[in-house]
Subunit: 241 residues, 2 copies
């Protein structure tokens, strides 16, 4: 078997670092799993469950402390499952969240976990963007990525061609309507569109749909991206029918 | 003048690392500023504005590249203002957020910035807790800490003795009412109470007020603390009167 490499976006596989993300992987998409890497020190209920799931799905187990340290960059990573990366298709009638040029791995992970919690499973990511399969992102999602459909697009227009019927709600600092008003008149299915952490969405997005703003005081420049996604998605998910 | 030390919670002073947080400090509480540390490489509009504000408030400027690297732990910190730490009192009739044992510096910073943006300025922090004056937190708030009133308490009961009239809303995974329902019947002034990142609030908090839950799917254990604070505070701030 070829030696495992430190993660890079070009590799066809990645790592779910840690027992909890590895369990999420084995429970939600065991067909993607290739190898289970264990530390000599790995023990406990979670590890037992992980080994049992891997046995059941014929995923080979190996003691690989050096590989774990190399791929995780940490000394205290006791387990990781190597998995094959994949492309998802977004569900055509479900609500979507579109992330335009998200660059921060931590944000991308928190956003995925938040959206899974709020019941939104379909995420379009417009490049350039952080890599959803980066082990740091997988760790930050706590494995939520294995329950979501995430699809990358080279350009927003390519997303739009595939999903022309979604009502678009670009979140912008100067959006024409406030969140509460947008939610009161929501059209379905909807796609909530969020821009880059630093620069937000380009101005022309205001013409593509109903631009929304989350009101905030002028004492801050903007809300953190993951907070804005949390507030926006919560409001839309709980919109009265 | 005594040499500056790497930050520790025991020091009577701290650092606002970076041009932007330093500007926020000089604009909002210049009376706390003690010294301006500049890199030889510091330049640009922000730096000019910072130097001008420091001159106006008689804050001594010094070139101190070594001190900047030592206190920030980074090579690219071009400016920092040394400031005296202080204790605030919470406004008695304003809405409060109470953070019970928050331990993560990044969360604490994001929460402060979010609350300032949503218009909540009064934050009680119950120890043990991360240090709001830690330069990493100051950086994560983007200087919002200089516009807020943050007070530490050794115990929740000490907060409660000072502010007995606030209607308490503990946020708990098994809270008796959902957020929308709590908001529809909100009593003022209110205090929104959030627990530790990992363990949440102790069960007895459910008896102290109207326990609230933010509904989420059982596919995640809980929302990230800063996301929960963002969603909860947004909903309360925008409650109909």
């Amino acid at each position: 078997m070829p030696p495992l490499k430190p993660y890079s976006a070009a590799l066809p596989y990645s790592y779910a670092p840690g027992v909890f993300p590895s369990l999420q992987l084995m429970q939600n998409c065991p067909q993607r799993a290739q190898r289970l890497l264990l530390s000599e020190k790995a023990q406990g209920e979670g590890v037992d469950k992980l080994r049992e799931l891997c046995r059941r799905h014929h995923v080979r187990e190996e003691v690989a402390d050096k590989a774990l340290a190399r791929i995780s960059g940490k000394q205290n990573c006791f387990a990781a499952v190597v998995f094959e990366k994949w492309q998802s298709e977004l569900a055509p009638a479900a609500p979507h969240v579109v992330l335009h040029h998200p660059m921060d791995e931590g944000n991308l992970g928190t956003i995925q976990r938040t959206l899974l919690g709020l019941g939104i499973r379909d995420i379009a990511v417009i490049r350039p963007a952080a890599d959803v399969f980066d082990p740091r992102v997988v760790r930050a999602t706590m494995g939520a990525v294995f329950s979501l459909r995430v699809k990358y697009y080279e350009d927003f227009s390519l997303y739009r061609m595939e999903h022309p019927a979604h009502a678009l709600y670009p979140f912008m600092l100067d959006g024409a309507v406030v969140l509460e008003q947008a939610v009161a008149q929501v059209q379905r299915p909807y796609a909530l569109v969020f821009g880059n952490e630093g620069s937000g969405l380009p101005p022309e997005f205001a013409q593509l749909g109903q631009a929304v703003r989350i009101p905030h005081s002028n004492e801050i420049d903007s809300l953190n991206l993951s907070i804005a996604v949390g507030i926006g998605a919560y409001a839309f998910v709980h919109a009265a029918d």
